[in-house]
């Protein structure tokens, strides 16, 4: 395997020495481009008190290409599908090499605080969200309790 670019080493070091509150990201020992991530649900969102597991991978072209990120914990959210894939502009068309692992994970956390059912990935969830918002939020809360409770 080619040696790890300096930028990735620096980012990893900073994630450890100066972690983002509510977010952890630890590289796998056998693949330093592959991170185990946890994100705490934002306060006053239906995901409050939940801890969500994710995985993140830095492709060969990073930082010219965005990191790949996916939820491993089941979550009821209009922009996250059943396989944990995330619909977020900075992960696709609005990626910029000025962004970093930490800013990307902060954007994911912000997406939990403000779901956007008008630009859905999980269509059935988004429909639910638009038509019965209270019920959808209650369900998101219930799933958080069911699947995202800290062990």
């Amino acid at each position: 395997m080619a040696s790890l670019p300096k930028r990735i080493i620096k980012e990893t070091e900073r994630l450890v020495s100066d972690p983002v509150p509510g977010i952890t990201a630890i590289p796998h020992e056998d693949n330093l481009r592959y991170f185990e991530v946890t994100i705490e649900g934002p306060e006053q969102s239906p995901y409050e008190n939940g801890v969500f597991g994710l995985e993140l991978f830095l492709p060969d072209d990073y930082p010219m290409e965005a990191p790949k990120v996916r939820f491993l914990t089941k979550i009821y959210h209009p922009n996250i599908d059943r396989l944990g894939r995330i619909c977020l502009d900075v992960l696709k068309t609005n990626w910029s090499p000025a962004l970093q692992i930490r800013t990307v994970l902060l954007s994911v956390q912000a997406l939990l605080a403000s779901p956007n059912p008008n630009d859905p990935l999980a269509n059935d969830v988004a429909e639910d969200w638009l038509q019965h918002e209270d019920a959808a939020i209650a369900k998101a809360r219930e799933w958080t309790k069911l699947y995202a409770t800290r062990q």
Binding site: P5, K6, K10, E11, D61, M64, S96, P97, A98
Partner: protein, 151 residues
Amino acid sequence: MQLEFTRVYPVFSWSWDIRGDDQAAKENEGQEHQHQHQHHKEDQQEEEELCGICRVSYNGTCPSCKFPGDDCPLVVGECNHNFHVHCIQQWLDTATAKGLCPMCRQPFSLKRGVAINECQMDRLAKLLIQSQPSGLSDDQDMMMEQEFVVR
């Protein structure tokens, strides 16, 4: 007292002549502006010294070069964001870039009248024409489709 020099070890240091920053400060000489600008500069001092793409010092090299200096030159954007020329070239060459500066998402162009930009003008001009956001709509779509067909 008489001193006799037996040996002299000259030590030199160099750094890129980024006249862009000074000029910008002068252009902003309107008083409130200048105050703001300086504050801004102090806050970002640390960030300002690093290439926003590879996060290595301006006076260092991009990830693919070994020797700093003329082999791996720095360029100054019209927006006063500076990058190693190899870094910004590689970014502008991606489809996601849409010709925009990674830092401020303004259309990227080289600042005129800056010495270190002069010899890069031609090299970047071609890339910028290809990735101008104005030319994005139809041409770019067609190019992408063709790529799919070839695959």
